[in-house]
Structures are given as structure tokens and as C-alpha cells.
Amino acid sequence: MSNNFGHRKALMAMFENEKQTVSGPGTVVGGNVKLTGTLKDVNDITVHGNVDGEVISEKNVSVTETASIKGPITAEIVLVSGKVNGSITATKKLEINPTGRVYGSIATSDLIIQSGAIFVGKSTTLKEMEPEEKKAFKAEEKKESVESENKSVKSASDAKKNEPKYEVE
């Protein structure tokens, strides 16, 4: 009997190949599944079925066309092609595809709503930057200002050099 499921075993073998415990391919909720509770994974989450509860991922959450989620979603990147009844917080990017329907507030730093998509709710842009990002940004800003200052000094001295000399009688 088990030989009939060779392709499935190959899929499992793929999972075995992944590094143990913490990392891995993530969670997949099948089309005929009803899930209740808090679904949390450090890796990607793909939902094809029904979820009644919170979905939290440290990476990506993908809500496919057949999926329906009643509850908040939190992730770095969220792709919605199905139905979401609840708030979405996507720290990096939120994309609502033409088949996607979102009923709830969204908060993200990069929002894409494609033509045909439905979004009913309040949208907030995440402006907060990570402290490290802030530092890097400030350093870059400083560098740029110093460079521009140097440039302006140089150009001023160059201008002085190229100034026409007039002889005064």
C-alpha cells in the first residue's frame, strides 16, 4: 500500500532534508481543512483552507484563492488572493491580488492593491524604522552632507581659481 504514496514520501523527505526544528519549509493548511486557534510559525505559512483564529509568521503569509481567514494576520510579507476578515499587519509588504478580499484594517510600509481586489477598512502606513536601520540611515545622511559640503568648498575654490583677473590701472 505504501508504494502508492511514493511522491508523498518524496515530499516528506524534502522536509527531512531541512535543518532541524527551528527552520524548515513552514506550514501549509490544505484546501479541505478547518483550523481553529493560533497558527504561529517562524517560517512561511500558506493557507488554502479555512482558518478561524490568528495567523502569525516571522516571514511570509500567503492566502490563496480558496482560503478564508477570520482573524488577524501578522507577518513580514502578506499576499492575499482569498478572503480575510480581520486586520493585517505586514511589516514589509502587503499585496492584495485581483481575487483578494480584505475586510479589516491594514498596516504596512508597502501596499499594493491590484485592480479587482476588494478592501474595506482603514489603511495605515508603517513609518517606524528599526533602530539599526535608523543608524544606517543617519550615517548615510551624514556622509552625504559631508560629501556635498566638500563638493561645495571645492567648487567654490575652483570658481575662485577660474575667476578672471582684472588689472587695475
Binding site: M1, R8, E18, G24, V28, G30, K34, D41, H48
Partner: protein, 254 residues
């Protein structure tokens, strides 16, 4: 010194392979005490004998079932498990990084250790590869996945097969769901890819599986439990000898 435990040979071919391995071990310079499981001496007794003789490496030579049995008795012990697979599943070969017997013997020589996880079907059935629940008819199932004390979810679905891996991944599939034969054939003819949206992959530290009808849980062709079951992830409970990176690199180079 290495202590080798042969599985009781099922046929002449296996007995011959065991003899070949013995010769190979001698040639490789890692020969040691070789014992064979028999009705008079069980796997457990032989493992205990090996441990009492202070062997630091016990090598299981045989099928998945034999390897799994030896592994079970070495859990949380200082002793290391070596593996020479005979007629084993690809999962075992993948685990040690060898596709053939000679390669498995070479790997033993280098003795590169790796701590690995194992699955446990409570109360005491450990597994090194995977456990399966399979049926020709769809059955209803309720799965409770527990990641932490306040972090859990419940899944209700139908299934024809459920596979639990040693890292406590649960794969659920219902072969009667999804696109029908006509759709599949059409997709095949037109070269379209039909995504598999019916299969689920769940993961948790603890997974409780309940089914509408009592189902057997099969491990290496043997029924080890019946539903409902609770499986838990056992983190780094076993040390095994695996392929060193150097050999892999040399193999890649050609």
C-alpha cells in the same frame, strides 16, 4: 572499538550481503565485534551487551526496522549509532548521506558525529524515519498541534494518509479530494501544472491525532500503535555518524 549488530537475515541474499560487509569492514580497518540478532538474543540484549563492554560506537546493519530498534536503545546514551543500511528506505540513506554500502562503511571510518531529533509516539515508541496512518477510504480526523503552553490550534479535515516525520512534521492528504481524473488528464495533456492545494503540512512540538475510526499507526511496516496518538518531538536525543563535509565536497568535484 566498533560493535556491529547484524539483523537476523531474512534470506540468503541478506546473509551474503552481511558477509560482504564484514569483509569490507576488515579491509577498511574498522573491524570490530560482530553479533547477529537471533531468537535467542534480541536486539535489546545485544545492545546492552555492547554497552556493558564499553563500546563507544554501536553499528546497526540491516533494514529500517532493525536500525530503528537499535537507535531506540541508544537514546540519551553516550554511545554513538553507526548505520549500514541493507534494503533500507531512502530516508535512512539520506540521514547518513550514503547511497550504497561501501559509502556507508567509509562514512563510519571518518566518524563525523551529528546529534539528531527523533519522533516519539507516546508512551515509548521512538522513530528515526517516519510513522504512517493510511487507508483506502477517507476518514475524518482532528489534529491538535501544540507549540507552547498557550500556543496551539486544532485542525479538522478528512484524510487517506497521514505521515509523521521524526522532526514532528505532519503531512495530511486525502487522495479523493482535489481535481478529478478528467481535470488531471486535461492538465497533463495541455502541460498545465495543477498545484496541490489539498495537502497540509503542520508542525509542532506535540501533535495529538484523533480519527473517526480507530486507525493503525505503521512504522517500518509494523503496527506500533492505534489512534488516538500523541507524538512529540525529541530534540537531539541521538548521536549518529554521518557523512563528513569533506567527502561530500570531493564527491561534488568528481
Amino acid at each position: 572499538m566498533y560493535y556491529y549488530i547484524n539483523e537476523q537475515p531474512k534470506n540468503r541474499a541478506v546473509a551474503k550481503t552481511q558477509e560482504y560487509i564484514r569483509d569490507l569492514l576488515g579491509l577498511t580497518g574498522i573491524s570490530g565485534e560482530v553479533v547477529t540478532v537471533s531468537p535467542a538474543r534480541t536486539t535489546e540484549e545485544l545492545v546492552e551487551m555492547g554497552l556493558s563492554k564499553k563500546h563507544n560506537t554501536i553499528v546497526a546493519i540491516g533494514s529500517d526496522r532493525h536500525i530503528n530498534k537499535v537507535a531506540t536503545f541508544l537514546i540519551n546514551r553516550k554511545c554513538v549509532l553507526g548505520i549500514i543500511p541493507i534494503n533500507s528506505s531512502p530516508l535512512i540513506h539520506q540521514l547518513i548521506g550514503a547511497s550504497e554500502i561501501k559509502e556507508a562503511v567509509d562514512i563510519l571510518k571518518f566518524r563525523k558525529l551529528k546529534e539528531i531529533n527523533m519522533g516519539l509516539i507516546e508512551p515509548n515508541k521512538y522513530f528515526l524515519t517516519q510513522a504512517e496512518i493510511q487507508s483506502n477510504k477517507s476518514f475524518e480526523t482532528t489534529v491538535t498541534v501544540i507549540e507552547a503552553d498557550f500556543d496551539s490550534y486544532q485542525v479538522n479535515t478528512t484524510a487517506t494518509e497521514m505521515i509523521i516525520s521524526k522532526n514532528n512534521y505532519l503531512f495530511i492528504n486525502d487522495k479523493y479530494k482535489g481535481p478529478n481524473v478528467l481535470k488531471k488528464s486535461w492538465a497533463w495533456l495541455t502541460g498545465k501544472h495543477l498545484p496541490d492545494i489539498e495537502s497540509s503540512v503542520l508542525r509542532g512540538k506535540k501533535i495529538k491525532i484523533e480519527t473517526s475510526v480507530q486507525m493503525p499507526v505503521i512504522m517500518d511496516g509494523e503496527i506500533v500503535a492505534k489512534t488516538p496518538i500523541v507524538t512529540t518531538l525529541q530534540l537531539k536525543v541521538l548521536k549518529i555518524i554521518t557523512k563528513p563535509v569533506r567527502i561530500e565536497e570531493e564527491k561534488k568535484k568528481g
